[in-house]
Symmetry: C2
Subunit: 586 residues, 2 copies
């Protein structure tokens, strides 16, 4: 019956012995098959696979149905499935294994004692949460987008941390809808070179980044799933989904609770028409499908509560003072009790938020903490009192902001100096589809603009328009997908200190994600490549191309490992030394 | 490890004996668990379920995480799972079964000989295609939206057809993302009474209808899946998915090939802005995600080929003369070779098609066969030469068409008289959100308007704006979700002959789907109800409320059974006599 359940074939077949003594192996095989979205087949006996099983296996080959290179989520790759044999030679003979190999199947045997088989399969299917010392050097919570107000997501480990953590680990984890790391864009012929990469990266993969807490890597995917992985091995601890829409942020983790949000980028036709008839003055609602904020138990993945919104909830929420804040495509900032999800207040922002994840600034004297975010239309930066929900200030900025503008870019905040850094595409020219990218520095208390710098003109990048800034040591580091360059600016004057060009940026441009400063090196993922750059002069120190492509991802560095999600629906752990062998990790 | 694979619990647990002699049952249990997206658990022995298994079962309870009544696709219902016991008392004792029942589990035992167990599970998981005589009275192909040019999807069966076909059968099939038939709308508090039903019905369920061919019911779902069911029993023959987007049409079936298309309703923000800046003159592209036309083997579900498009492919394609035609949200009509999917030609329509499924008119003297469809913006009706792809005529119609207009409604064609019937929301008033619905009759050769009739004013219905017409015996039957009424009009004058009001139409209005005339009775599904209406005077003859709600669904009647999909992601078979006990089926 396998061919009825999987008429299009499958990528994974788990082969168990049909011998009654192997019932335990069959149960483990079932778990493996379920995990891999594959099929379980039983052999006739230890020496013969059996005609029926052989036919079923043959039926599991995925046919080639579209031109080579057109790749889409959920569509298994054409070809024969990988075969897992569960049990040793006495259960399923080497003869069977050899025959399958000769027939062109990739065969992996899981064998050993019953306990060993169980352990191996558990390691694939549902390994244990890392315990104790191994995780002690990790952050113990993650309360905002990119882990810190200044967008610095580097976490050095202590000298007593285990070797793997200090030296770095290497693994790749394929999420539910992963496409091969060496895949090309979908259907360039029909979609064109600007649209094809957008399809692949915007409806698949990890839009923003990953979260590292207590030895666990939490990752959100556009494929509607949330994943928790063992940071050392990349093994799946748990996954939940499908949720009700795409997940496009960093998971927020605190007090053994994970908070994630769901949303999508669409507008209805009635919104299109209303906007046109009102001459661009109507308040728009972005997001067509469901959108919610979910809370899960961080250890088990059990759902604790859910709050629904009108309009998308794509931004990463922010957790502060036992309250979770989420701005939406419906134009509101929602404040929810972090334990129960109960509404504390809701404030109309005067515009919709697309993907601008809120940040906050804690004023050291007043202890006020405005929540700061951008709206796409009107193209404003808005600060909202975290306690009362009152709007503290609104900054319309200048420079003819356009297109996704302020609502698709997340503010960075320098807590020590009370500075907000934000960027936006500006001066869009519809006739030739070019635009500028400009960076703004604002006073965090008043929103007053301290300086603004235009980073230069280029093709308007489709989707995910903006870069995101890192503030470190009086320097702002920001990429521009308009020029496909990385910039270092003086934090207090906006003067450009140096620039660095991304190679192979592709037709959609590169430089959306933000850099991380660690071990005196600037690390940034752009296009297909991860770069190590000298932060003082912009010289390239090293590169590594791990497969797939990167969007607005921010790399997270814990000890010697960079953790990041990509646009192909993979989570990757990469030792820093692989990117820049000369890095000094001590 | 069940709780790791299903941290949110599951709706289905399959319980097999851990006794080695039960390995065969375990394999069948695995198939059942896979089919039901559930988990397989093994008992310790025939008398004791075992502490570990009991704990795992307990972990499978789906927690209540949101206010009661907020229902969403993919989210299992809170509560204990249903337990299937595979095997007889000697494998898993009655004592275990009774204990589970006492603990509040719904328990179903699948038992008998090994062969009987296999047959029962196969019947659930992957029953056989109906063979021979039983299917001979069914249509043998389905080449266009709603099965016929005049939108009449009634197929009488011969007097020698089997009893079940003549008298009608009753079953409900839950698709992948089905929500309970008695579920309410999602989150009325946050979404409001107009948006909540749209969420539930537009991102779930069967947008349009089902297809009945050779004893098989083919159904498309917004949940990204295509299903083939046994028309007699409702058992699943095969399913494929997830495909790359929502499926919103009638499957087209011919020559043992099923054709379906995928699409979505979203606009990007750049489209919104471009449209506003151009004062509503820019050509829009509807559809954000992937969109394709797929061909599958109708017997096995194996994918044969796929053609990708820019912009959505929501309309049902039309098959004519070995060519498949599909209009898209990218504003083109594509003609593809029905065997290979190779492009024959592509014609720019001057506007985008949203959900207007093409029809055709074969001129009896010239043998020309223009493909006829509507575009949403510009709001035109367009006829394209089926052979050359040249545009034959364009009819902008009148009456201030607005909103989704002509592109969200499918033309009906009277082949005998060369008349095209099409309707559209018109005269939208943005201030008070009211609109009219108007019906147009056009000359199929020239597009010239023969008459137009305004059906009256009401609240603008959110999403799926229009009704769809049936033409029979010189009468046009059409529903209006604006007034939530069914109308009978004279086909040649447009004069309203009678009207019929839908009860419980709800805040989104009812009357999107089209009626079917069978056995001298008009049958139509609207809101939560199926109605039998006297076609000569509009008197109600009977009603039936099968659970769920209906959108633009068209009922398909074969013999004594009505087949239809609903907005809750179910496919239903309902005996006509249940709707109208007085129906004369002979």
């Amino acid at each position: 019956m396998a061919e009825r359940l999987f008429p299009g074939g499958t990528s994974t077949v788990v082969l168990c012995s049909g011998n009654p003594s192997q019932a335990g192996a069959v149960q483990l095989g079932q778990a493996l098959a379920t995990k891999m979205s594959g099929v379980l087949l039983l052999t006739e006996n230890s020496q013969h696979i059996g005609a029926e099983t052989l036919q079923a296996l043959s039926d599991m080959t995925v046919p080639q149905v579209a031109p080579t290179g057109t790749i889409q989520p959920f569509q298994p790759q054409p070809g024969k499935p990988t075969v897992y044999i569960v049990g040793d030679d006495s259960a399923i003979s080497v003869k069977i294994q050899d025959r399958l190999t000769q027939m062109g199947y990739q065969v992996t045997r899981i064998s050993g004692s019953a306990h060993e088989i169980r352990t191996q399969i558990l390691n694939i299917v549902a390994p244990a949460i890392p315990q104790g010392l191994d995780a002690s050097s990790f952050p113990s919570s993650w309360t905002m987008n990119e882990g810190a107000s200044n967008h610095e997501s580097f976490f050095p480990v202590s000298s007593t941390a285990p070797a793997w953590m200090k030296q770095g680990v290497s693994w790749n984890f394929a999420e539910q809808a992963a496409v091969p790391l060496n895949a090309s864009f979908p259907d360039l012929a029909n979609l064109g070179p600007r649209n094809a990469p957008v399809k692949l990266t915007q409806y698949l993969g990890n839009a923003l980044g990953v979260t590292a807490v207590n030895g666990v890597i939490y990752a959100e995917s556009d494929d509607y799933h949330l994943y928790a992985l063992n940071a050392q091995t990349g093994a799946l601890i748990w996954q939940v989904g499908p949720l009700n829409n795409s997940l496009m942020g960093d998971p927020i983790v605190s007090g053994n609770v994970v908070y994630v949000t769901t949303g999508d980028t669409g507008f209805s036709f009635s919104q299109v028409l209303k906007y046109q008839l009102c001459g661009g003055t109507a308040l728009l609602v972005r997001g067509l499908l469901y959108s919610s904020l979910y809370a899960f138990n961080a250890t088990t993945g059990i759902m604790l509560w859910r709050q629904d919104f009108r309009g998308n909830a794509m931004p990463t929420p922010i957790l502060y003072n036992n309250t979770v804040y989420e701005p939406t495509g419906g134009g509101n900032l929602w404040a929810l009790n972090a334990q129960s999800g109960a509404l504390v207040w809701k404030t109309a922002l005067g515009g919709f938020d697309s993907m601008s994840s809120p940040n906050l600034y804690v004023n050291p004297s007043t202890k006020q903490a405005p929540i700061i975010l951008g709206t796409s239309d009107a193209n404003h930066v808005v600060a909202v009192n975290a306690v009362t929900g009152a709007i503290e200030w609104v900054q319309p900025t200048t420079l003819n902001i356009f297109n996704t503008g302020m609502g698709d870019n997340s503010p960075a905040v320098d807590q020590a100096n009370g500075v907000v850094i934000k960027d936006s595409v500006v001066n869009f020219d519809m006739a030739n589809k070019t635009t500028d990218l400009a960076v703004y520095a604002m006073n965090a208390d008043t929103g007053n603009i301290l300086w603004s710098t235009d980073l230069g003109r280029g093709s308007a990048p489709p989707a995910y328009k903006s870069g995101m800034a890192l503030i470190q040591n009086g320097v702002v580091y920001v990429g521009s997908p308009v020029t496909s360059m990385l910039y270092a600016l003086d934090e207090f004057t906006g003067k450009i200190l140096w620039t660095f060009s991304f190679a192979n940026s592709g037709p959609a441009g590169a430089g959306r994600g933000n850099a991380v400063l660690a071990y005196g090196v600037l690390w940034i993922a752009a296009g297909p490549t991860i770069y190590a750059v000298n932060p003082t002069n912009g010289q390239e120190l090293g590169t590594y191309t791990p497969g797939g492509r990167f969007g607005i991802v921010n790399p997270v560095i814990v000890g010697g490992t960079m953790y990041l999600g990509n646009s192909y629906d993979w989570i990757q752990a990469i030792p820093l030394s692989k990117i820049y062998p000369g890095v000094n990790l001590s």
